[in-house]
Symmetry: C2
C-alpha cells in the first residue's frame, strides 16, 4: 500500500485540522478564564510581554509576538482605552511609539498569576507532556517559517524533488 493520493487528502485534513482545532479549543478555554480579567487571548499575550519588559516600542512587541502593526495598533488602542497601557511617541525617534504599562496594567499581573495554573489544569497535561508538545510545535513553526521564506516549497516549476 503506497498511500494513493486519495488518502493523502484525508491525512492532510487531520494534520492541519488537528492544529486548527487545538488552537481554537485553547482559545476557547482562555476566553472563559480571561473574562475575569477583561482580556482577550491576544491581549493577554501582549500583557505577558509587557509584564516582562514594562516599556517597549510597538516594533519590538511585534517581534516578540510575530504580529505587525496592522494587528497591534487597534489592539493596543483597546488596551489603552481599558486603562492598562499608555502609548506615546518616542522623543528621540518620532516614528516609534513606546508602549508602557499603567499602574493598573502592572497591578493586573497579580490577578493574572492564577491563569497558568487554571489553564494547565484544563489541559490535563503534566509538565513533561507540555514540554514535549511545545518543543514539537516550536520545531514545526521554525520549519514552516523557513519554508515560507525560501519561496514556496514544491512550488518551483523547475525544481525537481526536494
Amino acid at each position: 500500500m503506497n498511500t494513493p493520493d486519495d488518502d493523502w487528502l484525508r491525512l492532510d485534513q487531520q494534520i492541519c485540522f488537528s492544529l486548527h482545532a487545538a488552537s481554537r479549543a485553547f482559545n476557547s478555554v482562555y476566553r472563559v478564564i480571561l473574562k475575569d480579567l477583561g482580556l482577550t487571548y491576544p491581549q493577554y499575550l501582549v500583557m505577558l510581554v509587557l509584564w516582562e519588559h514594562d516599556e517597549l516600542p510597538v516594533k519590538k512587541l511585534g517581534e516578540h509576538l510575530r504580529l505587525d502593526s496592522g494587528t497591534l495598533s487597534p489592539l493596543l488602542k483597546r488596551l489603552e482605552a481599558a486603562g492598562l497601557v499608555r502609548r506615546e511617541r518616542s522623543a528621540r525617534d518620532e516614528r516609534s511609539v513606546e508602549v508602557r504599562l499603567t499602574e493598573e496594567g502592572t497591578a493586573l499581573r497579580q490577578r493574572a498569576l492564577q491563569v497558568p495554573r487554571r489553564i494547565a489544569a484544563s489541559t490535563g497535561f503534566g509538565p513533561e507532556e507540555v514540554r514535549t508538545l511545545r518543543a514539537h510545535l516550536d520545531e514545526l513553526t521554525t520549519a514552516l517559517d523557513a519554508a515560507a521564506l525560501t519561496g514556496t516549497p514544491g512550488d518551483s516549476p523547475a525544481d525537481g524533488r526536494s
Copy 2:
C-alpha cells in the same frame, strides 16, 4: 525550587504562544499554496469534507469541522459565489440546507491533490513525527473540550478566598 508564580507566567506564555504561533505559521503556508486554488484555509477544510461526503447538511458539516452556522453561512455563500458549491433547502426538512459540490467543485479536487505533499514538504516532518504530533494535539483538544464543558477548571467556587 518550587516554580514561583513569576515563572509560571513565563512558562505559560510559551505553551499557549507556541500553539498560537504554530497555527498562524501553518495558516500562512497554506495561504500561499491555496492561492492557486482560490481558496482560503478554512474554505479548503470545508472542501476536504465535501470531497469525502459530496452532499451533506450545514449542520453535519459543522460537526465535522467544529464550526457553527455563524462561521459557515457566510463562508458557504462565498464558495457558492465562486461556483464550487450549491446550497438548497432540504425538501423533507425545510430547516436544513444541503450543501453539494458543483461540477467545478468536484473538479477542483484534482488540483488539490498536490497540496498535502507541498505542505508536508514545508513542515520537514516525517510521517512518524506528524502522527505523534497529531495524536498529542487531538489529546489536547479532547481535554480542553472536556474542561470547557465541565465548568471552568480551577475555578473552585467553594474556595472563597480570591
